[in-house]
Symmetry: C2
C-alpha cells in the first residue's frame, strides 16, 4: 500500500486512496507567524532536547480538554507521542506479548496490524454493521480471553461507521467485567459533519464507575494530524498514571521525545484558539466533499453496489457484488487516472475482496464527482 | 536517569549531567528565516504527511555526503529517522531476536541498552582503553557468535574516547570474516577539536572489499541533533538497500514518518551551506569548554583520580579511587548545586561504581571551572 500511495500522489491522478487531509486548507500564514512567535518567546529552547513525556503546557491543555464533571485528567495522565501511530506502537510494546489475543473490528486500521503483528499476537476479528462492531459476536469471543480490545469508535478507518451509544456502554461494561483493556483510537472524532457527538469510551468508563478519579481500563489515543496538520507528528495517549509511566519508558527508548518545535507550534496554535476557528472550516469543506461523494455514488454506481454512510471522518467503504475483485478494478481505474485502496487490505481472514475504501477529504468536490463517475462507468461494464 | 535530568535542568545547578548542546549557540534568527522560506516555497505540503523513507532531497544530500571514490551511497541507501535514537531502535527491531548476542563497548550508550533490552538479547561487554574497544578481548568473545557489534567509534558516550585506525580496520575485517553486522553509531564525529579525523567503519568496509558498490555489513546511524539542533528529531541510517527496506517497514509501523516540517527545516539550513558556517562555531565553543574542563580537573581533582582525554564530542569519564562511590558523591554534589551522571549507569556487569560521566558542551567555561572546583573540594574531603 505504501508503494501504491506513491503512485497516487501524482497530481494527474484523482486519488481516493490516501488518508490525506486537504493541504490547501492548511493555514500556512498562521503557521509562519506562530513559529516566529514561538522562536521569539522561547528562543533556542524550542530547538533543544525536551522531556520524553512532552511539553508540560501541552499536556496540561490536553488534560483540561478531556476533564469534565465525571472524569479528572491530570498532566500525569498524558503522554505526547510522535503522531497517533506511535501511540499505537507504544501501547503494543508495553501491553502485548506473543500469543496475546486482540479483539478488533473487521475491517480495521491497516497500520495497527503492522504495528502489533511483530509481537505475534492473535487477532480476533469482529464483524461490523452500520453501528460499528457487532458486540453480540464479540461476546462469543470473550471465552477466548482477549487481553485487549482495539476500537476506532468514530468514523472508523476504513468504514467511516460509528459505534452506537448502546454498544459503547456495553463494550465498556464487558471490558471491566472481563478485565480487558480498551484501546480507544480516536483520530477523527472532531470531524463530525452530521448527527450528534457520542461520549468517548474513556468518559463512559469513568461514568460507570461513579468516580472522578482516573483509573481507567481505557487507553485513549489521539492526534493533531487530522485537526491541525499531520506533518508535525504530534499525537497523545491518555491513560492511568501507571500506564503512562510504562509508555514513557518505551517512548524514551523509541525516539527520546517528540519534536520540540512541533510541540511548541501545536501549543501556540491551539492556545491562541486556532482550533475553534479551523475546525468549522475543516468540517464545512470535508462535509461538502462527503456529500459530493455520496451524491456521485448514488448517481453513477450500479444498484448492486452498497456503501456506508459516514457522519464524519475521511472514509467510506463500498461493497460490490461478490464476483468483482477490487484489486483488478484498481488496475483498470489507474488507467483512467483514478485511485482507491482495495478494502481487502484492511480485512482479516482474507475477506473484503469486493470492497473499496474511498477517501473523500483530499480532493475537491468536482474532482470527487469526476472520479466517481469514471469508477461507476468501469463498474457498469462489469455488470 | 531521566528523573535525575529533570532536577538538573534547574538553572541554579551547574550541570555536567545531560548530553545537551548549548542552546545559546542555536541560530534562532536563521531558523526563523529558514522556516519562512520553506513555508513560502513549499506551502501546505511542508505540513502534510510525507513518505516513510524521508524527503528525497534530504536523502540525496546525505547520500552525496557519504559518497566518495571508494563508496557510492544512493538515495535508496538512506532512511530518515526520528532522531538517532529511532535509528538504533529500528535496527534492533529488524535484526535482533531473543537470545541474540550483541558485542559492545563497556561502558556504552545507555539508551542503546534500553532500546535493545526488550528484545531479550545478551550483551557481550568489551573493556575499553584510550583507543576505544579492546579488540583483543573482543576476539575472545567471537566464539560466542555475536550477531551484531555496536560501536560508537568517535568520542564515545560516556568515555569520549576514539577507536584507533588499526582497531577500526581489524573490527571491519573480523565482522566480515565472522558474518557479524556492525552498527556504527556516530552522533559526534563532526565535533572534533584536536587530532585528525579517522575514516568511518562504513568507508573502511567498502575499501576492504575493493568495490564501489554498496553492499556493506555496516549499518551507519547518524543525526543532526549534535551539529544542528536536537529538538528537530532528525537522524538517519545508511545501509544496504535490503536493510533500508526492512527498516522502512518497521518505521512505518513505528511513527509513519519523521516530521515533515523538521526535515524541510534541516534541508533548508544545510542546503544553504549553514553547516560549514555553524560547525566551526560549535567546534570552537565546545573545544574551549573541553579545555576548561580538562584544565580544571588537573587543577582541582586529587592525584588519585584519572580521566579520559577526548579529542571531540561532549563527554569525558573520570575514574576515582575504588573506595569512592559516585552515586553517593552525586548526593553531596547536588547539595553544592553541581550535577553529573554516575558512570555505573553506562556499565554492564555492575562495574564503574567509582566513575563519573561529565558533559562539557552545555555550560560556559567559567561555570565549568566553578563546578569542577566544587567537585574537587568534595573529593579532597574523601581522600
Amino acid at each position: 500500500m505504501r508503494e501504491l500511495l506513491k503512485v497516487t500522489s501524482r497530481p494527474e491522478i484523482i486519488s481516493f486512496a490516501g488518508g490525506l487531509p486537504a493541504a490547501e486548507l492548511f493555514p500556512v500564514t498562521r503557521v509562519k507567524s506562530a513559529l516566529t512567535a514561538v522562536l521569539d518567546r522561547v528562543g533556542g529552547q524550542a530547538l533543544q532536547y525536551s522531556t520524553t513525556e512532552g511539553l508540560p503546557a501541552l499536556r496540561d491543555w490536553l488534560a483540561a480538554q478531556f476533564s469534565n464533571g465525571r472524569l479528572r485528567v491530570d498532566r500525569e495522565n498524558v503522554l505526547i507521542t510522535t503522531g497517533g501511530q506511535q501511540a499505537l506502537d507504544l501501547v503494543g510494546r508495553i501491553l502485548l506479548e506473543k500469543g496475546d489475543r486482540v479483539m478488533l473490528e473487521n475491517p480495521t486500521y491497516l497500520a495497527l496490524l503492522s504495528a502489533w503483528r511483530p509481537a505475534r499476537v492473535e487477532f480476533l476479528p469482529v464483524k461490523c454493521d452500520a453501528d460499528g462492531m457487532k458486540l453480540e459476536e464479540g461476546e462469543l469471543l470473550l471465552k477466548r480471553k482477549p487481553k485487549v480490545v482495539y476500537c476506532v469508535p468514530n468514523f472508523q478507518n476504513p468504514q467511516g461507521t460509528t459505534l452506537s451509544l448502546s454498544r459503547r456502554e456495553r463494550l465498556v461494561a464487558l471490558a471491566r467485567q472481563h478485565a480487558i483493556a480498551i484501546i480507544e483510537d480516536n483520530p477523527y472524532g472532531q470531524l463530525r459533519y452530521s448527527g450528534s457527538a457520542l461520549p468517548n469510551l474513556l468518559e463512559l468508563d469513568a461514568r460507570n464507575r461513579g468516580t472522578t478519579d482516573f483509573d481507567s481500563r481505557v487507553i485513549y489515543c489521539g492526534t493533531f494530524s487530522k485537526v491541525l496538520m499531520p506533518g508535525l507528528r504530534v499525537g497523545w495517549v491518555i491513560a492511568s498514571r501507571a500506564v503512562i509511566e510504562k509508555l514513557t519508558q518505551a517512548k524514551q527508548a523509541a525516539d527520546l521525545h517528540t519534536s520540540t518545535l512541533s510541540q511548541h507550534l501545536a501549543l501556540e496554535l491551539i492556545s491562541r484558539g486556532f482550533l475553534e476557528e479551523f475546525l468549522p472550516v475543516l468540517r464545512r469543506n470535508y462535509g461538502e466533499r462527503r456529500d459530493a461523494m455520496l451524491g456521485a455514488l448514488a448517481k453513477y454506481f450500479p444498484k448492486s453496489a452498497t456503501w456506508t454512510q459516514p457522519e464524519g471522518g475521511m472514509f467510506l467503504l463500498v461493497t460490490l457484488p461478490k464476483h468483482i475483485n477490487a484489486s483488478k478494478l484498481l488496475l483498470a481505474a489507474l488507467e483512467q487516472l483514478v485511485a482507491f485502496v482495495p478494502g481487502e487490505e484492511f480485512h482479516l481472514n482474507g475477506e473484503g475482496k469486493n470492497t473499496l475504501r474511498l477517501n473523500f477529504s483530499n480532493a475537491r468536490p468536482e474532482r470527487i464527482e469526476g472520479g466517481i463517475k469514471k469508477l461507476g462507468r468501469l463498474l457498469q461494464l462489469k455488470e
